[in-house]
């Protein structure tokens, strides 16, 4: 054991030596430090979020104000705005579809997968489990740069002659396979496929690293039953990603073959542009099965990290242990397993066997149970707490509300009989934007506010954070709640305008659509406040203290601006779970209302629970003699 500690010192000294030689390139660009890579993911993700958001505002203008003159956007959109004879500008219907498609792709993959998982898994896994870095810093670096390359290719596709991919973010063939069916299915789709392939590589490299790190590099005492829920969420998310992304890759690969090599995996019996194609025997539905085999778990890849982050933030700021720690882990596992066997609920009306539809309805509605358990546990965590509203806490509470509000409509949509009418309407748009889009976005923003001091050593402005939260929270509800009404009226998704149908022509619908668009624009405006606050605070924010939120988790024991390696000297050992907040009698042990994870039970005799007292013997024998961090700790406790 002693040699272990000595070894840790060696490693540290070794790394210290290296750091003096860091150049700009090795520190900020090709960095192998997980903290820097996390920041790279974060900033790329934020930039993408603004692009994705702006796209939604551009197409919402068309939906909210169908007769609007687009000519003022000509400088931005170029040839995609056609000037009519009367001088007014019309948005090109195919570019409308392209914007819808890119909004979905960017938000789901680049913002809520890379921006959320990439940032916080990278940043928090080593810091919260007590590791010096990821298992492979090099693979981690590659993971970011594959993502960056993917980003650049996706961005470049906007400037292609035929525009970017336009067949919806689900890119169902044959539409996405045939350039003669849609301009965006030409080189735009090729770029999309190449970008997504690189993205999958990035995801897999990241995922392997997260899993390996969590399994192998936990500090002494950090058992799985002591892991913070953030790490549980990231860990399971990485496993889901590792199992499902390869399926998307195979789906994409077969689509590439169909597009370029003349195979017929998805194509059959097609007559288009006056020509019968040679493809026979393929199944367009096969693609949907493959796509949603990733696509549905993807929902949880996006959502679970946000829920993990929320668990941590709610417990910390309610000053209470998370309620039902084991049930939370159980529900994460339940959701993860079930997420692989519900995919066909996206396909109830594709003509699949009605019996199969029934099976998938049953499985789908089972997944509502662990989700409900999570929501109830969050609410109980708040019960009899002593809640402090940091911006992070506000966004976490907002997340729980959005998760519930969007989640309950899943019960309607998962019911295949009811789904017949609602499938592909705005009801679905409202549902997933609340439960997956907004909820995950809130989790990401909450995480940024909460861990900003750890990332940059400075605080973000709280008042701006409050304004940002209230505008966003109100805005999100004003945008997506009315969409349920529009959806119940049967409005289809991905429509450029609705005036062709008598059923959708009513001034109330028109007004509601205008209202949604205005609310969306204002909500987007509120994000500029966040952008300002974020970049301003990096350089000018108030300097952070070491543990600004009085949190138990291990990351706050590392220095304020930790170098590569995270801790100077020995990595702290872990003696307890991360949720000892407001433990009875803890003040008798010299603690205010929280006992960090690196405090041994032997230092807190008054507040220990009976089964924790039993641990004292073990920790005295096995751990305390080797723990060099305890001296400073006991000094702190006395203070």
């Amino acid at each position: 054991m002693a040699s272990d500690v000595a070894h840790a010192h060696d490693v540290h000294a070794h790394e210290e030596h290296h750091e003096h030689h860091d150049t700009f390139i090795t520190k900020y660009i090709f960095s192998t430090d997980h903290k820097m890579i996390a920041k790279q993911f974060l900033i790329t993700g934020i930039l993408w979020a603004f692009v994705g958001g702006l796209l939604s505002i551009l197409f919402r203008l068309k939906l909210g104000f169908p007769d609007m003159d687009y000519s003022w956007l000509k400088p931005l959109l170029g040839k995609w705005v056609a000037i009519q004879d009367n001088g007014t500008g019309q948005l090109d219907p195919e570019f409308y579809l392209a914007m819808v498609t890119m909004h979905g792709t960017i938000m789901v993959f680049f913002v809520l997968t890379a921006g959320l998982s990439g940032t916080f898994s990278n940043f928090l896994i080593p810091l919260q489990i007590g590791a010096r870095d990821m298992a492979s810093g090099f693979l981690n670096m590659l993971s970011y740069w594959f993502f960056f390359a993917s980003s650049m290719i996706m961005l470049a596709s906007f400037f292609l002659d035929g525009g970017p991919a336009a067949g919806g973010w689900v890119v169902y063939p044959p539409l996405s396979a045939l350039p003669q069916a849609l301009k965006g299915s030409g080189s735009g789709m090729t770029y999309w496929l190449v970008a997504m392939t690189l993205f999958i590589v990035s995801s897999l490299l990241g995922g392997i690293n997260y899993i390996t790190t969590v399994i192998n590099l936990r500090t002494k005492g950090m058992t799985f039953s002591r892991l913070p829920l953030t790490i549980w969420a990231f860990f399971i998310t990485a496993i889901i990603g590792l199992l499902s992304f390869p399926v998307l890759f195979s789906a994409a690969l077969l689509l590439v073959f169909d597009r370029s090599l003349g195979t017929s995996f998805y194509l059959s019996d097609i007559f288009i542009n006056g020509q019968a194609l040679d493809h026979t025997g393929g199944s367009a539905i096969l693609f949907q099965h493959l796509f949603w085999f990733l696509g549905h778990p993807e929902v949880y890849i996006v959502l679970l990290p946000a829920l993990g982050i929320t668990s941590e933030i709610i417990a910390t700021n309610a000053r209470k242990p998370i309620f039902g720690y084991k049930a939370m882990i159980g529900s994460i596992l339940g959701i993860a397993i079930l997420s692989f066997i519900v995919w066909a609920h996206h396909m109830f009306v594709t003509g699949m066997d009605p019996f199969l539809g029934s099976i998938f309805m049953f499985l789908t509605l089972i997944i509502a149970v662990p989700s409900a358990v999570k929501a109830f546990n969050y609410i109980t965590t708040l019960w009899r707490g002593n809640i402090r509203y940091t911006p992070a806490m506000l966004f976490s509470i907002g997340l729980v509300s959005l998760f519930i509000s969007g989640g309950v409509t899943g019960i309607i949509l998962g019911n295949n009989a009811l789904d017949i009418y609602l499938h592909d309407t705005y009801y679905v748009v409202a549902h997933f934007h609340l439960v997956m889009g907004s909820a995950s976005f809130f989790g990401m923003v909450a995480g940024i506010y909460h861990w900003f001091p750890k990332m940059f050593g400075r605080m973000m402005d709280e008042k701006l954070g409050y304004i940002h939260f209230w505008m966003t929270f109100i805005g999100v509800y004003l945008v997506f709640f009315p969409m349920h009404f529009i959806g119940i009226a049967g409005f289809p998704r991905r429509y450029y305008e609705f005036s062709a149908y008598a059923a959708f022509r009513d001034e109330v619908y028109l007004n509601l659509n205008s209202f949604i668009s205005i609310a969306a624009a204002v909500t987007f405006g509120a994000q500029l406040i966040f952008g300002f606050n974020f970049f301003y605070s990096i350089f000018r924010g108030k300097r952070a203290t070491q543990n600004p939120w009085n949190s138990n988790a291990l990351e706050w024991t590392s220095p304020i601006n930790a170098g590569h390696g995270n801790w100077e000297g020995q990595i702290p050992f872990v003696y307890r779970w991360a949720y000892d907040y407001s433990k009875p009698n803890c003040e008798k042990d010299g603690f205010t209302d929280f006992i960090p994870q690196n405090v041994p039970y032997s230092m807190t005799p008054h507040s220990n629970l009976p089964h924790e007292n039993e641990m004292i013997e073990l920790e005295k024998e096995e751990m305390i003699p080797h723990d060099t961090t305890l001296e400073t700790l006991s000094l702190l406790a006395k203070k």
Binding site: G324, G385, I387, Y389, S401, V408, L464, Y579, S582
Partner: protein, 378 residues
């Protein structure tokens, strides 16, 4: 009007910027006082807590008020036999989920408000409770099971085999319109082959199939009140989706994989218009008719039509890929039917030429295969 709204948006956004500017100023002044951050700012904390209590309450009231104000507008009127069952299941399920939504959100926001930070307060250490966990695992599970079985019953009714007396019609989607093919007196659809498709024979009919002879095509869907209709659905180029909001039915159209649906319309178009006339929401003008002369303005009930809505993204014209659906009573339908002529009759010359071509290529294929066999044996 539009420019006014846009100006409003711009003004709002600018106002947001102004607020940023002022607040960051104020914040920096506060910061310069060098106050210790250990103290929690109770005022700000309380403001947030009260907002959590008030705003969701106001929002919920506003949403319910608005929803009930236009209660007769939201769902499309139903005109199908399973419509009442669908609508009542939808209603029950919505009442259940709205209750869940209200109760859980109310608990969330009330606790958030009630347990806001107070000086000298201490949170209760309450890490778990097995009984509670079991209760709120089982209660949602039971509620869901009930809903699942109700939905399952309806799903089976809607997706079971069509009755044998059902009228058979084929609907084909292509970029960007729908074509219906009626099976004629024999109620049998003739075969097709996508390779036979051209500008005239848009559905690729196989004229060597005798069943084709009485099939006729139309770009409108004509149905009979009270008579089951079975639709055979296909797509010629990319995915489309046949959606009938008023008949509570939807099914994708897939190239190479025909799909099907059936339903029983219960109200003729005329009857539905008369019914809607009693609904104040449908007395309002149709926005499409208000741009011309005042005498052209029509009420929504007057312009009402059953419609086939394309509900799967299919390209540039997706948003306008509509087919009008007319439900007749028996007599009206017969009148319409009498005016329809089979495709084979109206395109005699074309059909004769095609039959010749088809038989030739078939014969050609046979002889080629024969010659192959011969060369092999050699």
């Amino acid at each position: 009007m539009n420019s006014l709204i846009i100006t409003l948006i711009v003004v709002l956004v600018l106002a947001v910027f102004l607020i940023i500017f002022r607040i960051s100023n104020l914040a920096s002044i506060l910061r310069s006082k060098g106050k210790d951050n250990e103290e929690i700012d109770t005022t700000a904390n309380n403001i947030n807590a009260y907002l959590f209590l008030l705003l969701p309450l106001l929002g919920t009231i506003a949403a319910f008020w608005y929803a009930s104000k236009h209660a007769t507008l939201w769902g499309q009127p139903d005109a199908v036999q399973h419509g009442a069952a669908y609508d009542s299941l939808s209603k029950i399920a919505h009442i259940v989920v709205i209750l869940m939504f209200l109760v859980t959100n109310a608990a969330l926001f009330y606790f958030t408000f009630k347990y806001r930070h107070k000086k000298d307060n201490k949170a209760t250490f309450y890490p778990d409770n097995l009984k509670l966990e079991i209760v709120w695992t089982i209660v949602p599970a039971v509620i869901l099971t009930v809903l699942v079985f109700a939905g399952w019953k309806l799903w089976r009714d809607v997706t079971k085999e069509a009755p044998s007396n059902a009228m058979l019609i084929e609907v084909m989607g292509k970029q960007f319109n729908w074509i219906a093919r009626y099976s004629g007196a024999d109620n049998k659809l003739g075969g097709f082959n996508f390779r036979y498709t051209d500008d005239i024979n848009e559905m690729g009919l196989d004229f060597t199939d005798k069943n084709v002879n009485d099939d006729f095509q139309a770009t409108e869907l004509h149905l009979v009140k009270g008579k089951p209709v079975r639709l055979q659905i296909r797509a010629r180029d990319v995915l489309h989706s046949v959606s009938f909001p008023h008949f509570r039915q939807k099914m994708d159209a897939v190239p190479g994989q025909p799909t099907k649906m059936w339903f029983i319309p219960t109200k003729t178009t005329e009857e539905m218009r008369e019914e809607l006339r009693k609904n104040p929401e449908y007395l309002k003008p149709d926005p499409n008719t208000t741009k011309g002369k005042p005498e052209d303005v029509k009420a929504r009930w007057e312009t009402f039509d059953y419609e086939l809505v394309c509900q799967e993204i299919c390209g540039r014209g997706h948003f306008s890929m509509r087919m009008r659906v007319i439900v007749h009573d028996e007599d009206d339908y017969k009148k319409w039917l009498a005016a329809q002529k089979p495709f084979v009759e109206t395109n005699k010359e074309y059909v004769a030429k095609k039959i010749e071509a088809i038989t030739k290529t078939k014969a050609g294929k046979v002889s080629m295969e024969d010659s192959k066999k011969v060369s092999k044996t050699n």
